[in-house]
Protein backbone atom coordinates (compact mmCIF):
# COMPACT_ATOMS: atom_id res chain seq x y z
CA UNK A 1 0.00 0.00 0.00
CA UNK A 2 0.99 3.51 -0.58
CA UNK A 3 1.81 6.04 2.03
CA UNK A 4 1.09 9.00 -0.24
CA UNK A 5 -1.47 11.49 0.87
CA UNK A 6 -5.03 10.78 -0.14
CA UNK A 7 -6.11 12.66 -3.27
CA UNK A 8 -9.76 11.77 -3.76
CA UNK A 9 -12.06 13.91 -1.68
CA UNK A 10 -15.16 12.47 -0.04
CA UNK A 11 -17.20 14.21 -2.69
CA UNK A 12 -15.25 12.49 -5.46
CA UNK A 13 -15.53 9.13 -3.76
CA UNK A 14 -19.29 9.55 -3.46
CA UNK A 15 -19.54 10.62 -7.09
CA UNK A 16 -17.60 7.53 -8.16
CA UNK A 17 -19.58 5.17 -5.95
CA UNK A 18 -22.84 6.54 -7.37
CA UNK A 19 -21.94 4.87 -10.68
CA UNK A 20 -21.51 1.40 -9.23
CA UNK A 21 -25.21 0.35 -9.27
CA UNK A 22 -25.44 1.17 -12.97
CA UNK A 23 -23.21 -1.67 -14.10
CA UNK A 24 -22.96 -5.37 -13.33
CA UNK A 25 -19.19 -5.04 -12.92
CA UNK A 26 -17.23 -2.53 -10.89
CA UNK A 27 -14.56 -2.36 -13.56
CA UNK A 28 -17.09 -0.65 -15.83
CA UNK A 29 -16.92 2.33 -13.49
CA UNK A 30 -13.28 2.91 -14.50
CA UNK A 31 -13.99 5.47 -17.21
CA UNK A 32 -16.68 7.32 -15.22
CA UNK A 33 -14.28 7.43 -12.26
CA UNK A 34 -11.45 8.80 -14.37
CA UNK A 35 -13.83 11.50 -15.62
CA UNK A 36 -14.92 12.34 -12.08
CA UNK A 37 -11.32 12.99 -11.09
CA UNK A 38 -10.32 14.66 -14.33
CA UNK A 39 -13.32 17.02 -14.26
CA UNK A 40 -12.20 18.26 -10.86
CA UNK A 41 -8.40 18.06 -10.94
CA UNK A 42 -7.80 18.52 -14.69
CA UNK A 43 -5.54 15.50 -14.58
CA UNK A 44 -5.50 12.06 -12.98
CA UNK A 45 -2.36 11.58 -10.92
CA UNK A 46 -1.08 8.10 -10.25
CA UNK A 47 -2.17 8.30 -6.62
CA UNK A 48 -5.74 8.88 -7.81
CA UNK A 49 -5.44 5.78 -9.96
CA UNK A 50 -4.44 3.78 -6.90
CA UNK A 51 -7.41 5.10 -4.96
CA UNK A 52 -9.86 4.48 -7.81
CA UNK A 53 -8.59 0.92 -8.05
CA UNK A 54 -9.20 0.46 -4.36
CA UNK A 55 -12.81 1.62 -4.66
CA UNK A 56 -13.43 -0.64 -7.67
CA UNK A 57 -11.62 -3.72 -6.32
CA UNK A 58 -9.13 -3.61 -9.16
CA UNK A 59 -5.37 -3.70 -9.40
CA UNK A 60 -4.01 -0.17 -9.96
CA UNK A 61 -2.42 -1.50 -13.16
CA UNK A 62 -5.86 -2.26 -14.57
CA UNK A 63 -7.00 1.32 -14.11
CA UNK A 64 -3.65 2.63 -15.32
CA UNK A 65 -3.87 0.43 -18.41
CA UNK A 66 -7.23 1.90 -19.33
CA UNK A 67 -6.14 5.43 -18.53
CA UNK A 68 -3.08 5.26 -20.74
CA UNK A 69 -5.04 3.80 -23.65
CA UNK A 70 -6.93 7.07 -23.95
CA UNK A 71 -4.46 9.83 -24.67
CA UNK A 72 -7.12 12.00 -23.07
CA UNK A 73 -6.19 11.87 -19.38
CA UNK A 74 -3.09 13.77 -18.39
CA UNK A 75 -1.15 12.40 -15.47
CA UNK A 76 1.91 14.54 -14.71
CA UNK A 77 0.31 17.91 -14.26
CA UNK A 78 -3.08 19.53 -14.76
CA UNK A 79 -4.07 20.88 -18.13
CA UNK A 80 -4.88 24.57 -18.35
CA UNK A 81 -8.02 26.15 -16.92
CA UNK A 82 -9.34 25.94 -20.46
CA UNK A 83 -8.51 22.94 -22.61
CA UNK A 84 -9.05 23.61 -26.28
CA UNK A 85 -8.95 21.29 -29.27
CA UNK A 86 -8.53 22.69 -32.75
CA UNK A 87 -9.81 20.14 -35.22
CA UNK A 88 -7.30 18.97 -37.81
CA UNK A 89 -9.40 16.35 -39.63
CA UNK A 90 -10.38 16.58 -43.26
CA UNK A 91 -13.32 19.01 -43.37
CA UNK A 92 -11.49 21.47 -41.13
CA UNK A 93 -8.20 20.85 -42.93
CA UNK A 94 -9.92 21.86 -46.17
CA UNK A 95 -10.82 25.16 -44.55
CA UNK A 96 -7.32 25.97 -43.32
CA UNK A 97 -7.39 24.47 -39.85
CA UNK A 98 -3.68 23.65 -40.02
CA UNK A 99 -2.78 27.29 -40.50
CA UNK A 100 -5.20 28.24 -37.74
CA UNK A 101 -3.63 25.92 -35.19
CA UNK A 102 -0.15 27.04 -36.18
CA UNK A 103 -1.16 30.66 -35.85
CA UNK A 104 -2.72 30.10 -32.44
CA UNK A 105 0.27 28.19 -31.15
CA UNK A 106 2.62 30.88 -32.33
CA UNK A 107 0.55 33.59 -30.76
CA UNK A 108 0.21 31.70 -27.48
CA UNK A 109 3.88 30.83 -27.55
CA UNK A 110 3.35 27.08 -27.11
CA UNK A 111 3.39 23.93 -29.18
CA UNK A 112 0.28 21.76 -29.65
CA UNK A 113 -0.37 19.88 -26.42
CA UNK A 114 1.31 22.45 -24.21
CA UNK A 115 -0.07 24.80 -21.59
CA UNK A 116 0.58 28.54 -21.48
CA UNK A 117 2.89 29.85 -18.75
CA UNK A 118 -0.01 31.43 -16.84
CA UNK A 119 -1.74 28.05 -16.78
CA UNK A 120 -4.90 29.38 -18.35
CA UNK A 121 -4.87 27.48 -21.65
CA UNK A 122 -3.91 24.10 -23.01
CA UNK A 123 -4.06 24.06 -26.79
CA UNK A 124 -4.23 20.73 -28.61
CA UNK A 125 -5.11 19.40 -32.00
CA UNK A 126 -8.21 17.26 -32.10
CA UNK A 127 -9.49 14.76 -34.63
CA UNK A 128 -12.92 15.40 -36.17
CA UNK A 129 -15.05 17.11 -33.52
CA UNK A 130 -18.26 16.14 -35.28
CA UNK A 131 -19.00 19.72 -36.22
CA UNK A 132 -17.66 19.67 -39.77
CA UNK A 133 -20.39 21.94 -41.11
CA UNK A 134 -18.77 24.65 -38.98
CA UNK A 135 -15.20 24.08 -40.17
CA UNK A 136 -12.74 25.14 -39.07
CA UNK A 137 -13.79 24.62 -35.51
CA UNK A 138 -12.45 24.43 -32.00
CA UNK A 139 -13.91 22.98 -28.83
CA UNK A 140 -12.75 24.98 -25.80
CA UNK A 141 -14.03 23.47 -22.60
CA UNK A 142 -17.73 23.08 -23.30
CA UNK A 143 -17.88 25.81 -25.94
CA UNK A 144 -17.79 25.01 -29.61
CA UNK A 145 -16.24 27.80 -31.66
CA UNK A 146 -17.61 27.54 -35.17
CA UNK A 147 -16.17 28.74 -38.48
CA UNK A 148 -13.33 30.23 -36.53
CA UNK A 149 -11.49 33.16 -38.10
CA UNK A 150 -7.99 34.30 -37.21
CA UNK A 151 -9.46 37.41 -35.58
CA UNK A 152 -11.80 35.35 -33.42
CA UNK A 153 -8.95 33.05 -32.48
CA UNK A 154 -6.86 36.07 -31.49
CA UNK A 155 -9.67 37.43 -29.33
CA UNK A 156 -10.06 34.02 -27.69
CA UNK A 157 -6.34 33.94 -26.89
CA UNK A 158 -6.29 37.51 -25.59
CA UNK A 159 -9.05 36.68 -23.12
CA UNK A 160 -6.83 34.00 -21.68
CA UNK A 161 -3.55 35.89 -21.85
Amino acid sequence: MTTAERILTDEMIDAIKAFIPRYPSKQAVTLPALHVVNDRLRHVPLQAVVEIAEILDLAPAQVQDTLTFYGFFKQDKPHGEVRAWVCRSISCHLRDADALLEHMCQKAGIRPGETTANGRLTLEFGECLGACEHAPCMLAGETLHTSLTTEEADAFLEDLA
Binding site: S25, L31, C128, G130, C132, H134
Partner: protein
Amino acid sequence: MSDFQPILLANIAIENSHTRAVYESTGGYAALRKVFAEMSKADLIELVKASGLRGRGGAGFPTGLKWTFLPKEHPGPIYFCLNADESEPGTFNNRILMEEDPHQVIEGLILSCFATNTTTAYFYMRYEYPLAWKRVQAAVDECYEAGYLGKNILGSGYDLDIFLHRGAAAYICGEETGLIESLEGKRAWPRIKPPFPAVEGVFHKPTVVNNVETAACVRHIAERGADWFRSMGVPPDPENPRDPGSFGPKLYCLSGHVEKPGCYEAPLGITVNELIEKFGGGIWKGRKAKAAIPGGISMGLLTAEEFDCPLDFAGPGRYQCLGLGTAAVVVMDETVSMVDFLLNSSQFFAHESCGQCTPCREGTSWALKIMQRIKAGRGRLIDLDLLLEIGDNIGIIPGTTICGLADGAAWPLKNGIRKFREEFETYIKQTNPSGFAETEPVPALEMIGVH
Protein backbone atom coordinates in the same frame (compact mmCIF):
# COMPACT_ATOMS: atom_id res chain seq x y z
CA MET B 1 -38.07 13.17 -54.47
CA SER B 2 -39.00 16.79 -54.99
CA ASP B 3 -42.00 16.46 -52.67
CA PHE B 4 -39.98 14.77 -49.93
CA GLN B 5 -40.64 16.21 -46.49
CA PRO B 6 -37.97 15.76 -43.83
CA ILE B 7 -38.82 13.09 -41.26
CA LEU B 8 -35.85 12.84 -38.92
CA LEU B 9 -35.21 16.57 -39.12
CA ALA B 10 -38.89 17.57 -39.26
CA ASN B 11 -38.89 19.40 -35.96
CA ILE B 12 -35.38 20.68 -35.44
CA ALA B 13 -36.23 24.26 -36.39
CA ILE B 14 -38.97 24.51 -33.75
CA GLU B 15 -37.97 26.47 -30.69
CA ASN B 16 -37.04 24.17 -27.80
CA SER B 17 -37.28 21.13 -30.05
CA HIS B 18 -35.10 19.30 -27.55
CA THR B 19 -37.72 19.36 -24.80
CA ARG B 20 -40.34 16.76 -24.03
CA ALA B 21 -43.13 19.31 -24.22
CA VAL B 22 -42.31 20.24 -27.80
CA TYR B 23 -41.62 16.64 -28.77
CA GLU B 24 -45.00 15.53 -27.44
CA SER B 25 -46.74 18.44 -29.13
CA THR B 26 -45.49 17.09 -32.47
CA GLY B 27 -46.78 13.59 -31.79
CA GLY B 28 -43.85 12.32 -29.76
CA TYR B 29 -44.24 9.14 -27.70
CA ALA B 30 -47.41 8.21 -29.59
CA ALA B 31 -45.49 5.39 -31.27
CA LEU B 32 -44.48 4.05 -27.87
CA ARG B 33 -48.07 4.08 -26.62
CA LYS B 34 -49.25 2.45 -29.81
CA VAL B 35 -46.69 -0.35 -29.65
CA PHE B 36 -47.42 -1.08 -25.99
CA ALA B 37 -51.15 -1.19 -26.74
CA GLU B 38 -51.05 -3.18 -29.94
CA MET B 39 -47.84 -5.09 -30.44
CA SER B 40 -45.77 -7.88 -28.99
CA LYS B 41 -41.97 -7.81 -28.99
CA ALA B 42 -41.96 -10.32 -31.83
CA ASP B 43 -44.39 -8.16 -33.84
CA LEU B 44 -42.08 -5.18 -33.51
CA ILE B 45 -39.05 -7.17 -34.64
CA GLU B 46 -41.04 -8.41 -37.64
CA LEU B 47 -42.10 -4.88 -38.46
CA VAL B 48 -38.54 -3.56 -38.39
CA LYS B 49 -37.41 -6.53 -40.46
CA ALA B 50 -40.16 -5.91 -42.99
CA SER B 51 -39.23 -2.22 -43.23
CA GLY B 52 -35.81 -3.12 -44.63
CA LEU B 53 -34.13 -0.72 -42.19
CA ARG B 54 -30.35 -1.05 -42.37
CA GLY B 55 -28.04 0.26 -39.68
CA ARG B 56 -26.97 3.86 -40.11
CA GLY B 57 -23.68 3.50 -38.20
CA GLY B 58 -21.59 2.59 -41.21
CA ALA B 59 -21.90 -1.09 -41.98
CA GLY B 60 -25.52 -1.05 -43.16
CA PHE B 61 -26.44 -4.31 -41.50
CA PRO B 62 -30.21 -5.04 -41.55
CA THR B 63 -31.45 -4.00 -38.10
CA GLY B 64 -34.33 -6.44 -37.66
CA LEU B 65 -32.12 -9.32 -38.73
CA LYS B 66 -29.45 -8.32 -36.21
CA TRP B 67 -32.07 -8.42 -33.47
CA THR B 68 -33.10 -11.95 -34.40
CA PHE B 69 -29.52 -13.14 -33.79
CA LEU B 70 -30.10 -12.74 -30.05
CA PRO B 71 -30.53 -16.14 -28.40
CA LYS B 72 -34.18 -17.14 -28.06
CA GLU B 73 -35.69 -17.56 -24.61
CA HIS B 74 -32.59 -16.09 -23.03
CA PRO B 75 -32.95 -15.71 -19.24
CA GLY B 76 -31.31 -12.28 -19.52
CA PRO B 77 -29.99 -9.83 -19.03
CA ILE B 78 -29.60 -8.71 -22.61
CA TYR B 79 -27.92 -5.34 -23.01
CA PHE B 80 -28.44 -2.57 -25.52
CA CYS B 81 -25.65 -0.16 -26.43
CA LEU B 82 -26.59 2.93 -28.34
CA ASN B 83 -23.57 3.95 -30.35
CA ALA B 84 -23.19 7.72 -30.12
CA ASP B 85 -19.43 7.72 -30.48
CA GLU B 86 -19.71 9.40 -33.89
CA SER B 87 -16.11 10.18 -34.78
CA GLU B 88 -15.80 9.39 -38.47
CA PRO B 89 -14.28 12.49 -40.09
CA GLY B 90 -16.99 14.40 -41.91
CA THR B 91 -19.85 13.01 -39.80
CA PHE B 92 -22.18 14.97 -37.51
CA ASN B 93 -25.72 13.71 -38.09
CA ASN B 94 -25.95 11.97 -34.71
CA ARG B 95 -24.89 15.18 -33.02
CA ILE B 96 -27.70 17.12 -34.70
CA LEU B 97 -30.27 14.51 -33.67
CA MET B 98 -29.06 14.42 -30.06
CA GLU B 99 -28.81 18.18 -29.71
CA GLU B 100 -32.00 19.16 -31.49
CA ASP B 101 -34.35 16.20 -31.09
CA PRO B 102 -33.03 13.87 -28.38
CA HIS B 103 -36.49 12.54 -27.51
CA GLN B 104 -36.87 11.14 -31.00
CA VAL B 105 -33.70 9.13 -30.43
CA ILE B 106 -34.80 8.04 -26.98
CA GLU B 107 -38.26 6.96 -28.13
CA GLY B 108 -36.60 4.87 -30.83
CA LEU B 109 -34.18 3.49 -28.27
CA ILE B 110 -36.98 2.52 -25.88
CA LEU B 111 -38.79 0.76 -28.72
CA SER B 112 -35.61 -1.01 -29.81
CA CYS B 113 -34.95 -2.15 -26.25
CA PHE B 114 -38.52 -3.38 -25.90
CA ALA B 115 -38.23 -5.39 -29.13
CA THR B 116 -34.97 -6.98 -28.02
CA ASN B 117 -36.11 -7.64 -24.45
CA THR B 118 -33.50 -5.39 -22.92
CA THR B 119 -33.96 -3.77 -19.54
CA THR B 120 -30.66 -1.88 -19.40
CA ALA B 121 -29.35 0.35 -22.15
CA TYR B 122 -26.04 2.19 -22.23
CA PHE B 123 -25.95 5.36 -24.27
CA TYR B 124 -22.27 5.59 -25.20
CA MET B 125 -21.46 9.13 -26.27
CA ARG B 126 -18.15 10.55 -27.42
CA TYR B 127 -16.58 13.04 -25.05
CA GLU B 128 -16.53 15.99 -27.44
CA TYR B 129 -20.31 16.47 -27.50
CA PRO B 130 -20.96 18.56 -24.36
CA LEU B 131 -24.25 20.03 -25.59
CA ALA B 132 -25.59 16.70 -26.83
CA TRP B 133 -24.58 15.18 -23.49
CA LYS B 134 -26.58 17.76 -21.54
CA ARG B 135 -29.61 17.53 -23.78
CA VAL B 136 -29.74 13.75 -23.83
CA GLN B 137 -29.28 13.59 -20.05
CA ALA B 138 -32.05 16.15 -19.59
CA ALA B 139 -34.30 14.23 -21.98
CA VAL B 140 -33.65 10.96 -20.14
CA ASP B 141 -34.51 12.69 -16.85
CA GLU B 142 -37.73 13.99 -18.39
CA CYS B 143 -38.59 10.47 -19.50
CA TYR B 144 -38.21 9.09 -15.98
CA GLU B 145 -40.52 11.86 -14.73
CA ALA B 146 -43.10 11.07 -17.40
CA GLY B 147 -43.00 7.33 -16.85
CA TYR B 148 -41.43 6.53 -20.24
CA LEU B 149 -38.46 5.05 -18.42
CA GLY B 150 -38.10 3.17 -15.19
CA LYS B 151 -40.39 0.48 -13.85
CA ASN B 152 -43.60 -0.61 -15.55
CA ILE B 153 -43.42 1.91 -18.39
CA LEU B 154 -46.91 3.29 -19.19
CA GLY B 155 -48.41 0.36 -17.30
CA SER B 156 -47.02 -2.11 -19.83
CA GLY B 157 -45.14 -4.17 -17.26
CA TYR B 158 -41.94 -3.41 -19.16
CA ASP B 159 -38.96 -1.93 -17.26
CA LEU B 160 -36.07 -0.04 -18.80
CA ASP B 161 -33.16 2.04 -17.57
CA ILE B 162 -30.96 4.16 -19.82
CA PHE B 163 -27.52 5.15 -18.56
CA LEU B 164 -25.28 7.63 -20.32
CA HIS B 165 -21.65 6.60 -20.58
CA ARG B 166 -19.01 9.06 -21.66
CA GLY B 167 -16.10 8.22 -23.95
CA ALA B 168 -12.64 9.72 -23.82
CA ALA B 169 -11.74 10.88 -27.31
CA ALA B 170 -10.87 7.66 -29.11
CA TYR B 171 -12.30 6.90 -32.57
CA ILE B 172 -11.99 3.16 -32.03
CA CYS B 173 -14.68 3.27 -29.32
CA GLY B 174 -17.19 3.58 -32.18
CA GLU B 175 -16.34 0.10 -33.44
CA GLU B 176 -18.97 -1.98 -31.70
CA THR B 177 -16.68 -4.38 -29.86
CA GLY B 178 -14.24 -1.58 -29.07
CA LEU B 179 -17.23 0.19 -27.55
CA ILE B 180 -18.07 -2.89 -25.52
CA GLU B 181 -14.53 -3.23 -24.17
CA SER B 182 -14.46 0.47 -23.37
CA LEU B 183 -17.78 0.22 -21.58
CA GLU B 184 -16.40 -2.65 -19.51
CA GLY B 185 -13.67 -0.29 -18.33
CA LYS B 186 -10.86 -1.72 -20.41
CA ARG B 187 -8.80 -0.38 -23.28
CA ALA B 188 -10.99 -0.20 -26.37
CA TRP B 189 -9.41 -3.10 -28.21
CA PRO B 190 -11.92 -4.56 -30.66
CA ARG B 191 -12.69 -8.25 -30.29
CA ILE B 192 -12.29 -11.00 -32.81
CA LYS B 193 -15.70 -12.03 -34.15
CA PRO B 194 -17.38 -14.45 -33.79
CA PRO B 195 -18.75 -14.52 -31.20
CA PHE B 196 -20.79 -11.56 -32.36
CA PRO B 197 -22.15 -9.19 -29.71
CA ALA B 198 -25.65 -10.60 -30.16
CA VAL B 199 -24.33 -13.87 -28.75
CA GLU B 200 -21.69 -12.60 -26.36
CA GLY B 201 -21.29 -8.87 -25.94
CA VAL B 202 -20.90 -6.61 -22.95
CA PHE B 203 -20.46 -8.25 -19.53
CA HIS B 204 -20.48 -11.63 -21.34
CA LYS B 205 -24.16 -11.18 -22.19
CA PRO B 206 -26.02 -10.93 -25.49
CA THR B 207 -25.82 -7.33 -26.66
CA VAL B 208 -27.28 -5.20 -29.40
CA VAL B 209 -25.28 -2.25 -30.69
CA ASN B 210 -27.15 0.24 -32.85
CA ASN B 211 -26.47 3.73 -34.08
CA VAL B 212 -28.35 6.84 -32.96
CA GLU B 213 -29.95 7.45 -36.36
CA THR B 214 -30.98 3.79 -36.60
CA ALA B 215 -32.90 4.21 -33.35
CA ALA B 216 -34.56 7.37 -34.63
CA CYS B 217 -35.72 5.46 -37.72
CA VAL B 218 -37.26 2.75 -35.53
CA ARG B 219 -39.49 5.35 -33.91
CA HIS B 220 -40.94 6.34 -37.31
CA ILE B 221 -41.30 2.78 -38.54
CA ALA B 222 -43.27 1.91 -35.40
CA GLU B 223 -45.54 4.86 -36.06
CA ARG B 224 -46.02 4.66 -39.81
CA GLY B 225 -45.25 1.10 -40.78
CA ALA B 226 -42.97 -0.86 -43.04
CA ASP B 227 -44.62 -0.01 -46.37
CA TRP B 228 -44.30 3.68 -45.70
CA PHE B 229 -40.60 3.23 -44.92
CA ARG B 230 -40.08 1.16 -48.07
CA SER B 231 -41.76 3.84 -50.17
CA MET B 232 -38.50 5.82 -49.91
CA GLY B 233 -35.12 4.82 -51.21
CA VAL B 234 -33.72 2.29 -53.64
CA PRO B 235 -35.08 -1.26 -54.18
CA PRO B 236 -32.71 -4.25 -54.24
CA ASP B 237 -30.49 -4.53 -57.30
CA PRO B 238 -31.95 -7.43 -59.33
CA GLU B 239 -28.43 -8.27 -60.55
CA ASN B 240 -27.22 -8.71 -56.98
CA PRO B 241 -29.05 -11.36 -54.93
CA ARG B 242 -27.26 -10.19 -51.77
CA ASP B 243 -28.51 -6.60 -51.96
CA PRO B 244 -31.46 -6.09 -49.58
CA GLY B 245 -32.10 -2.58 -50.95
CA SER B 246 -31.67 0.81 -49.30
CA PHE B 247 -34.90 2.07 -47.82
CA GLY B 248 -35.97 5.07 -45.83
CA PRO B 249 -34.77 8.59 -45.21
CA LYS B 250 -31.10 9.31 -44.57
CA LEU B 251 -29.23 12.18 -43.00
CA TYR B 252 -26.43 13.32 -45.28
CA CYS B 253 -23.61 15.38 -43.81
CA LEU B 254 -22.17 17.75 -46.37
CA SER B 255 -18.96 19.65 -45.67
CA GLY B 256 -15.76 20.85 -47.26
CA HIS B 257 -15.77 23.13 -50.28
CA VAL B 258 -19.48 23.76 -50.76
CA GLU B 259 -21.29 27.03 -50.25
CA LYS B 260 -23.69 25.69 -47.62
CA PRO B 261 -22.29 22.87 -45.53
CA GLY B 262 -24.88 21.17 -43.33
CA CYS B 263 -26.86 18.10 -42.41
CA TYR B 264 -29.55 17.41 -45.00
CA GLU B 265 -32.22 14.76 -45.19
CA ALA B 266 -33.19 12.93 -48.36
CA PRO B 267 -34.40 9.49 -49.33
CA LEU B 268 -31.50 7.04 -49.69
CA GLY B 269 -30.06 7.19 -53.18
CA ILE B 270 -29.58 10.90 -53.79
CA THR B 271 -26.48 11.44 -55.95
CA VAL B 272 -23.45 13.44 -54.88
CA ASN B 273 -24.25 15.96 -57.61
CA GLU B 274 -27.83 16.41 -56.41
CA LEU B 275 -26.69 16.78 -52.83
CA ILE B 276 -24.19 19.49 -53.75
CA GLU B 277 -26.54 21.35 -56.07
CA LYS B 278 -29.86 20.96 -54.30
CA PHE B 279 -28.66 21.45 -50.73
CA GLY B 280 -25.06 22.58 -50.76
CA GLY B 281 -25.46 25.64 -52.95
CA GLY B 282 -22.79 24.35 -55.33
CA ILE B 283 -19.01 24.33 -55.04
CA TRP B 284 -17.78 27.34 -53.11
CA LYS B 285 -16.19 30.41 -54.64
CA GLY B 286 -17.49 29.47 -58.08
CA ARG B 287 -14.78 26.85 -58.39
CA LYS B 288 -14.94 23.38 -59.89
CA ALA B 289 -14.99 20.19 -57.87
CA LYS B 290 -12.08 17.79 -57.92
CA ALA B 291 -13.10 14.93 -55.63
CA ALA B 292 -15.32 13.95 -52.72
CA ILE B 293 -15.33 11.51 -49.88
CA PRO B 294 -18.64 9.64 -50.25
CA GLY B 295 -19.37 8.59 -46.66
CA GLY B 296 -16.74 9.53 -44.13
CA ILE B 297 -13.01 9.41 -44.81
CA SER B 298 -12.89 5.60 -44.43
CA MET B 299 -14.94 5.13 -47.58
CA GLY B 300 -12.32 6.40 -50.03
CA LEU B 301 -12.69 8.92 -52.83
CA LEU B 302 -14.86 9.74 -55.79
CA THR B 303 -13.48 11.87 -58.62
CA ALA B 304 -15.60 14.81 -59.80
CA GLU B 305 -16.52 12.74 -62.87
CA GLU B 306 -18.03 10.17 -60.52
CA PHE B 307 -20.44 12.55 -58.75
CA ASP B 308 -23.37 10.78 -60.39
CA CYS B 309 -22.77 8.12 -57.73
CA PRO B 310 -26.03 7.40 -55.87
CA LEU B 311 -25.60 7.51 -52.12
CA ASP B 312 -27.41 4.32 -51.19
CA PHE B 313 -25.79 1.29 -49.56
CA ALA B 314 -24.80 -0.23 -52.92
CA GLY B 315 -23.87 2.94 -54.83
CA PRO B 316 -20.35 3.89 -53.71
CA GLY B 317 -19.18 0.27 -54.03
CA ARG B 318 -19.87 0.45 -57.76
CA TYR B 319 -17.37 3.31 -57.90
CA GLN B 320 -14.61 1.32 -56.12
CA CYS B 321 -15.35 3.01 -52.79
CA LEU B 322 -15.72 0.98 -49.60
CA GLY B 323 -19.41 1.77 -49.17
CA LEU B 324 -21.92 4.33 -48.02
CA GLY B 325 -20.39 4.48 -44.55
CA THR B 326 -21.88 7.34 -42.59
CA ALA B 327 -23.13 9.16 -45.72
CA ALA B 328 -20.85 12.05 -44.88
CA VAL B 329 -19.84 13.76 -48.09
CA VAL B 330 -16.72 15.93 -47.97
CA VAL B 331 -16.18 17.91 -51.14
CA MET B 332 -12.79 19.08 -52.41
CA ASP B 333 -12.41 21.81 -54.98
CA GLU B 334 -9.93 21.96 -57.85
CA THR B 335 -7.25 23.66 -55.73
CA VAL B 336 -6.86 20.71 -53.35
CA SER B 337 -3.69 18.68 -53.63
CA MET B 338 -4.29 14.95 -53.36
CA VAL B 339 -0.94 14.71 -51.59
CA ASP B 340 -2.37 16.89 -48.82
CA PHE B 341 -5.57 14.86 -48.75
CA LEU B 342 -3.74 11.58 -48.37
CA LEU B 343 -1.36 13.01 -45.78
CA ASN B 344 -4.36 14.17 -43.74
CA SER B 345 -6.11 10.85 -44.04
CA SER B 346 -2.95 8.90 -43.15
CA GLN B 347 -2.39 11.13 -40.16
CA PHE B 348 -5.89 10.38 -38.87
CA PHE B 349 -5.60 6.61 -39.11
CA ALA B 350 -2.08 6.45 -37.72
CA HIS B 351 -3.34 8.44 -34.75
CA GLU B 352 -6.48 6.35 -34.22
CA SER B 353 -5.26 2.79 -34.83
CA CYS B 354 -5.65 1.01 -31.51
CA GLY B 355 -2.37 -0.78 -32.12
CA GLN B 356 -3.64 -4.27 -31.50
CA CYS B 357 -3.02 -5.75 -34.97
CA THR B 358 0.47 -5.43 -36.41
CA PRO B 359 -0.64 -4.87 -40.04
CA CYS B 360 -2.85 -1.97 -38.96
CA ARG B 361 -0.48 -0.44 -36.43
CA GLU B 362 2.58 -0.67 -38.68
CA GLY B 363 0.70 -0.09 -41.94
CA THR B 364 -0.97 3.11 -40.83
CA SER B 365 2.17 4.50 -39.23
CA TRP B 366 4.35 3.69 -42.25
CA ALA B 367 1.76 5.13 -44.62
CA LEU B 368 1.98 8.35 -42.62
CA LYS B 369 5.79 8.35 -42.66
CA ILE B 370 5.84 7.78 -46.41
CA MET B 371 3.28 10.52 -47.00
CA GLN B 372 5.28 12.93 -44.85
CA ARG B 373 8.36 12.14 -46.88
CA ILE B 374 6.52 12.66 -50.16
CA LYS B 375 5.07 15.93 -48.93
CA ALA B 376 8.53 17.13 -47.88
CA GLY B 377 9.90 16.60 -51.37
CA ARG B 378 11.74 13.36 -50.68
CA GLY B 379 9.25 11.02 -52.34
CA ARG B 380 10.10 8.31 -54.87
CA LEU B 381 7.77 6.80 -57.44
CA ILE B 382 8.19 3.44 -55.76
CA ASP B 383 6.56 4.92 -52.65
CA LEU B 384 3.24 4.88 -54.46
CA ASP B 385 3.55 1.13 -54.87
CA LEU B 386 4.50 0.76 -51.24
CA LEU B 387 1.42 2.73 -50.21
CA LEU B 388 -0.73 0.54 -52.44
CA GLU B 389 0.86 -2.55 -50.96
CA ILE B 390 -0.19 -1.32 -47.53
CA GLY B 391 -3.65 -0.39 -48.79
CA ASP B 392 -4.20 -3.76 -50.44
CA ASN B 393 -3.09 -5.75 -47.41
CA ILE B 394 -4.53 -4.24 -44.26
CA GLY B 395 -8.10 -4.81 -43.17
CA ILE B 396 -10.83 -7.32 -42.54
CA ILE B 397 -11.39 -7.70 -46.26
CA PRO B 398 -7.88 -9.04 -46.98
CA GLY B 399 -8.22 -10.89 -43.66
CA THR B 400 -5.27 -9.42 -41.79
CA THR B 401 -6.87 -7.36 -39.02
CA ILE B 402 -9.44 -7.63 -36.26
CA CYS B 403 -11.58 -4.64 -37.12
CA GLY B 404 -12.59 -2.42 -39.98
CA LEU B 405 -10.53 0.60 -39.01
CA ALA B 406 -7.76 -0.80 -41.17
CA ASP B 407 -10.09 -1.17 -44.16
CA GLY B 408 -11.00 2.46 -43.62
CA ALA B 409 -7.33 3.40 -43.59
CA ALA B 410 -6.74 1.38 -46.75
CA TRP B 411 -9.46 2.85 -48.90
CA PRO B 412 -8.20 6.44 -49.15
CA LEU B 413 -4.78 5.00 -50.09
CA LYS B 414 -6.21 2.71 -52.75
CA ASN B 415 -8.68 5.15 -54.27
CA GLY B 416 -6.38 8.14 -53.88
CA ILE B 417 -3.42 6.60 -55.67
CA ARG B 418 -5.36 4.57 -58.26
CA LYS B 419 -7.69 7.43 -59.20
CA PHE B 420 -5.09 10.24 -59.03
CA ARG B 421 -1.80 8.49 -59.74
CA GLU B 422 -0.66 10.97 -62.32
CA GLU B 423 -0.97 13.83 -59.88
CA PHE B 424 1.10 11.99 -57.27
CA GLU B 425 3.76 11.13 -59.84
CA THR B 426 3.96 14.71 -61.06
CA TYR B 427 4.27 16.00 -57.52
CA ILE B 428 7.05 13.54 -56.71
CA LYS B 429 8.98 14.26 -59.91
CA GLN B 430 8.71 18.01 -59.46
CA THR B 431 9.60 18.13 -55.79
CA ASN B 432 12.34 15.49 -55.93
CA PRO B 433 13.90 15.84 -59.37
CA SER B 434 17.14 14.13 -58.43
CA GLY B 435 15.71 11.28 -56.40
CA PHE B 436 12.24 10.35 -57.67
CA ALA B 437 13.50 7.25 -59.47
CA GLU B 438 15.44 5.85 -56.50
CA THR B 439 14.37 2.40 -55.38
CA GLU B 440 16.75 1.69 -52.52
CA PRO B 441 15.19 1.63 -49.05
CA VAL B 442 15.34 5.02 -47.34
CA PRO B 443 14.98 5.99 -43.70
CA ALA B 444 11.82 7.70 -42.49
CA LEU B 445 11.84 11.47 -42.62
CA GLU B 446 12.13 12.05 -38.92
CA MET B 447 15.19 9.81 -38.81
CA ILE B 448 16.99 12.00 -41.33
CA GLY B 449 15.99 15.17 -39.56
CA VAL B 450 13.91 16.79 -42.31
CA HIS B 451 10.62 18.35 -41.40
